[in-house]
């Protein structure tokens, strides 16, 4: 039997009726049509389904949709202003960190949570933040570079704005 759940997705209040057995991932992709979030292993091992819940990265395949009542969810569609890319998205393109792109939304959201917490991360911080993400194309080096580049870009933007 479907049960109503109300939450905030990418800044908008959303109400949907889902079966208790459905995950947040299902709610996002099937009920709300936000297909930027991907399904990989469905066991919390690959990181393809990572979104931010109340600002923290979580595996949306492991969280029941009904557990998100009243919570704030950010998906890849919620990043950047309309028609513009976030520094992280721009950095992933510039650094050549995207190949097939399946892991990219999860990687970018995990990296966003890191940069929100630590604006100037060490390479070790970046590795630790992305430890739960698998990429079968890039070999990771470009992804780590992209996150460092995004941190630099954000700092430069901050200087310009402050200046």
């Amino acid at each position: 039997m479907r049960t109503e759940v109300e939450l905030i997705v990418n800044g908008r209040s959303v109400r949907a009726a889902v079966e208790p057995r459905k995950s947040l991932l299902h709610l996002l992709r099937v009920e709300l049509g936000l297909i930027g979030t991907k399904e990989g292993c469905a066991e919390g091992d690959c990181g393809a389904c990572v979104v931010l819940v109340d600002g923290k990265p979580i595996n949306s395949c492991l969280l029941l949709a009904l557990e998100c009542e009243g919570r704030e969810v950010t998906t890849i569609e919620g990043l950047g202003a309309t028609g513009e890319l976030e520094p992280l998205q721009e950095a992933f393109i510039q650094a050549g960190a995207v190949q097939c792109g399946y892991c990219t939304p999860g990687m970018i959201l995990a990296a966003k949570a890191l940069l929100d917490r630590i604006p100037d991360p060490t390479p070790e911080d970046v590795k630790n933040a992305l430890v739960g993400h698998l990429c079968r194309c890039t070999g990771y080096a470009k992804i780590l570079e992209a996150v460092q580049l995004a941190a630099q870009m954000s700092r430069s933007e901050g200087v310009l704005i402050d200046g």
Binding site: M1, T3, E19, P20, R21, S23, A42, E43, G44, D45, G47, V50, V53, K56, P57, I58, N59, C61, L62, L63, L64, L66, E67, E69, A110, A113, N128, A129, V131, G132, H133
Partner: protein, 307 residues
């Protein structure tokens, strides 16, 4: 996943009343990082996983129960609510200062998992590969169990009955964990080996807490091999400072040899035949030696003479 009902009570009384009335058909839902995959039947490839599959009629969410997130000092103990996430445990700035638990929690899986997974879930899942089992046993922690009619405390040692079996009664939930403030401040060391350096299944964990009792010091060492039952040893360190590694290695080797019968046919070997028990035993000795050695180093760094 099968159909089930979902209930998210606002108070612990409501949760306990519901669980008490459900005749075992309901299960508490904490972080869900183990329970949800166990309920998904499309991943039931192996006989082991089929055996571990769960089909509860109802899930009782503990998410809204703020009192299960309590982290505070209570007399001589730190009280950690069962819904404390591993991410919060990993923060050294948390209200409770238990560096050994913070260290171990910070190495569990990924940040995403740690943001969901809880202390209570890690304990109640009762996996012999659970990362927090060794430090909780070494700290001689105790669990706080509540039901509609009563509440009780049990040492963690008595709570784990067997792999994936606990002393939790019908209608009972784990409300929190008590950890001695003194034990938390003692010199400590941890070491573990997993199937992979990151995100791997832990094969063996070891935790050592140095107990400084007059006139002698001793190391309380707990080793939790994923292939068997936890092994606890008290190592007298008086006059053995120069032979610590050999002493611990010998003692642990003997203890493991005595347990070899129990190791065979264990759940982990059934699912992972590529990881034989002898390899886990070998790693157990190395982890134990490293944990004791690190604890002794910490002791020395505090400026005291080595015991």
């Amino acid at each position: 996943m099968h159909d089930f009902r979902y209930f998210a009570p606002d108070t612990i009384e409501e949760a306990l009343a519901f669980l008490g009335d459900s005749n075992g058909g309901s299960r508490p839902l904490a972080g869900g990082t183990c329970l949800i995959p166990q309920m998904r039947n499309r991943h039931l490839g192996s006989p082991y996983r089929q055996k571990r599959a769960m089909r509860p009629e109802c899930l009782v969410s503990l998410r809204r129960l703020e009192e299960l997130r309590r982290v505070e000092r209570s007399g001589d103990e730190w009280y950690l609510g069962a819904m404390t996430t591993l991410a919060r445990l990993a923060e050294r700035e948390t209200e409770a200062d238990i560096p050994v638990l913070s260290q171990v929690a910070s190495g569990v899986a990924s940040p995403e998992i740690r943001n969901l997974a809880t202390l209570g879930g890690n304990i109640c899942n009762a996996s012999p590969a659970a990362d927090l089992l060794a430090p909780l046993l070494a700290l001689q922690a105790r669990v706080h169990l509540v039901s509609e009619e009563s509440e009780r405390w049990l040492p963690v040692r008595g709570f784990f009955r067997a792999p994936h079996r606990t002393a939790l009664g019908a209608g009972e939930i784990l409300a929190g964990v008590g950890v001695s403030v003194d034990a938390s401040a003692s010199p400590w060391g941890v070491a573990s080996y997993a199937t992979h350096s990151h995100m791997g299944m832990t094969l063996v964990s070891a935790t050592c807490i140095l107990e400084e009792t007059v006139p002698r010091s001793r190391a309380r060492l707990v080793v939790t091999p994923a292939s068997g039952r936890p092994i606890e040893l008290l190592v007298d360190l008086s006059g053995r400072a120069e032979r610590d590694r050999e002493t611990v290695g010998d003692m642990l080797g003997s203890a493991l040899a005595q347990q070899s019968g129990k190791v065979r046919g264990c759940h982990y070997a059934q699912e992972n035949p590529q990881v034989p028990s002898w390899y886990v035993e070998h790693r157990a000795v190395l982890a134990a030696q490293e944990a004791v050695s690190t604890a002794l180093d910490r002791h020395d760094q505090r400026g005291s003479a080595r015991p």
